[in-house]
Symmetry: C2
Subunit: 406 residues, 2 copies
């Protein structure tokens, strides 16, 4: 399988070659109300339901307006459908039947690919947590005492998860600088991004039954990119003692393409050494850990400002899943959990402006001569990523992008 | 309308008289797979879809297996349907047609009445927040500096909201006493309850557009009771800096009956005086505030341990809604937001064991001679509530109950 090549020219040497095959939901201008499942291949979106019909194996999982039914179908169905897509896109026999079902990427409007059930955001980068600790709690230990014992997480707002390209309206809220006597209310002055990786749950689990780390591939369908937009002034004032709320809940953007977990088999790497012994339910040192070598890039108005390395994350997705369900909490199809900001050890690998600019003290310089401590109106932020595939292939995640509106 | 009486004997002088008419979803042993919308009246559940058909006005909103379509229909539809139900249950003409559609409460199995979209939990009782501040942060100001400026809240897990009667499995998690060097993993030793009131959102709102306080009745369909089960040892170790997560997400129980907001018109009272001037978007002092005189009762193994008075809440549901959307976050049909623990000023009005027993130091005594610092296996907790209706009528909320399993 790893040496297969597509009959589609633009799939050769593409981050969307036959080893990737990410899923999304698209429509076209000709039929704007008709949402269909699409599979990205080269510079095209393959109408997946149509392709299955053309191949003589119609699929209710692919003939849908959301990835929901496919997500719910479970790992064996995912493998079977992926094998079918791979065959159809590599076997010349299918070229004539499938070619009319290829929509140029530029003609496809992408939609939120599934209904988000619960959204959980973790805090799994040691570099990010250390930087934020130093900024928010100067003089104290940067990491809280629990940090190396468990992946810290919290629930976010599922209803405001939006697809890449959705504009982000600058949120209003209560802002209070340490020097102010009382808060005032108005648009955030410290609008930020967080470059993250998100995991999409397919197979649900029973209430009362934890999912161990080795259940990761059974329950997780795939991976996307996440921009967890953050209003730092709102967040700083509200977050004690119950955590982030309105500083985050105005919008969370996700990339339109969900990269199947199977496409990331060659991206698996060992996570960093753990300097505190994990409790057994989080101890992946004797198993097959789920570190992932995903190279991310953050662009602000087209200019690259950071290259966060996901391989440096202290806690893996499998550990996050085990933690999230350790108390018996059930999973639902469509649950989304994100890694938290991905920041590496070097300054130019930090995944949030608050770290890149050190709380605004050291603004980012853009090629047009302007600087940014935080985001201004009309700024556009784009996060992209790639991971290694088989035989030198590159697995592309596409992008998650958004522009700030006043 | 306020003097209307039902032709149903058991509805007379009942907390489920014609001034209440709460909605739920039920099935019967004869047809266990058939979920229907029911309206509680006296000692019966009225098959609401059947009643509409019998009355000659079939309704797709009532002929459903969930309250979802009704919730989404909006305030004018809610008023129209409530007027119809009131007419059918008070006008003798309908007695013969509707009587066969009355199912004795004991024969109805109640289900989760709607799919919870996002679940938000507030922290709106000054007495509760003060007590917890004293317990968790001794020596410091009990209320955080933001507390009187905004209703503090956080997102909880929507997927583990369960209907009353669902057993609660004692959750496992990391526990670390201040005297322990490292955490261990095991069943919580400090399982607690939180007696709360929940608000059910019907009408959605647009992303980017805040809902002001006077939009409360347009968007909120009704009110239920909530038990926000809490594992205090897990919570204490995990909650800094991102708030409660696994200490709460194992289960949140809700009462099966949603009391329509219209049924609470006579329960409206002025909230407590605010000693910090609210910012304009939260300032209800010149309007018609949404304080609600709901008298709650908490029973542990049948013994009343507390009577929390909802009228003492510092922040109202309307303020919570305005806060939750102030940043432009959208509402979805099925969003549930809860008040946080309801605690009054007196010890016997505190809505959580951690307060009632002052962190376990002063256990609750039960009639069988046993005591409780926190919940033991097989303990059953039941929360009930009533509110004043018109002409001396009482509006009942029914109960939210749950038993602890090992």
């Amino acid at each position: 399988m790893t040496t297969a090549r597509s009959w589609l020219a633009s799939a050769q040497d593409s981050p969307f070659g036959v080893h990737n095959l990410p899923y999304g939901v698209f429509s076209t201008a000709a039929r704007p109300g008709r949402r269909r499942i699409g599979v990205r291949i080269g510079d095209f979106v393959l109408d997946a339901g149509g392709a299955a019909r053309a191949a003589g194996v119609p699929s209710v999982l692919l003939d849908a307006d959301s990835l929901g039914p496919l997500l719910a179908a479970g790992r064996p169905a995912w493998a079977q459908i992926r094998a079918g897509l791979t065959a159809w896109l590599t076997d010349e026999t299918y070229r004539n039947a499938l070619s009319p079902l290829l929509v140029p990427v530029a003609e496809a409007t992408m939609h939120l690919p599934f209904e988000v059930a619960d959204y959980v955001d973790f805090y799994a980068s040691e570099h990010h947590a250390t930087n934020l600790g130093r900024i928010f709690r100067p003089g104290a230990e940067p990491l809280t005492p629990n940090w190396k014992h468990l992946p810290i997480g919290y629930h976010g707002r599922a209803g405001t998860v939006v697809v890449s390209g959705t504009p982000v309206v600058r949120p209003h809220g209560q802002r209070k600088a340490p020097t102010d006597a009382v808060p005032d209310f108005g648009p955030t002055r410290r609008l930020d991004i967080e470059a993250e990786v998100g995991f999409v749950v397919g197979t649900p689990s029973e209430l009362g039954t934890p999912v161990p780390m080795d259940g990761f591939a059974e329950h997780v369908f795939g991976v996307c990119l996440v921009n967890d937009w953050s209003a730092r002034d709102i967040q700083a004032w509200e977050y004690v003692p119950l955590g982030p709320f309105l500083g985050k809940s105005f919008a969370t953007s996700v990339s339109p393409w969900i990269v199947p977990l199977e496409a990331l088999e060659h991206a698996r790497v060992a996570p960093p050494a753990r300097d505190v012994e994990p409790l057994p339910y989080l101890d992946d040192r004797g198993g097959e850990p789920w570190g992932l070598d995903i190279a991310m890039e953050v662009r602000l108005n087209g200019h690259t400002v950071s290259r966060p390395p996901f391989a440096t994350m202290y806690w893996t997705g499998a550990q996050q899943l085990a933690q999230m369900t350790a108390n018996g909490a059930s999973l639902r199809t469509g649950d989304l959990f994100a890694s938290g900001t991905v920041s590496g050890p070097a300054k130019e690998t930090r995944g949030a402006l608050i770290e890149l600019t050190w709380n605004g003290e050291d603004p980012v310089k853009l090629p047009d001569g302007s600087t940014r401590a935080f985001l201004e109106n009309d700024d556009e932020v784009t996060i992209t990523a790639t991971a290694p595939g088989p035989d030198g292939a590159v697995i592309g995640f596409g992008e998650v992008t958004g522009r700030v509106l006043p």
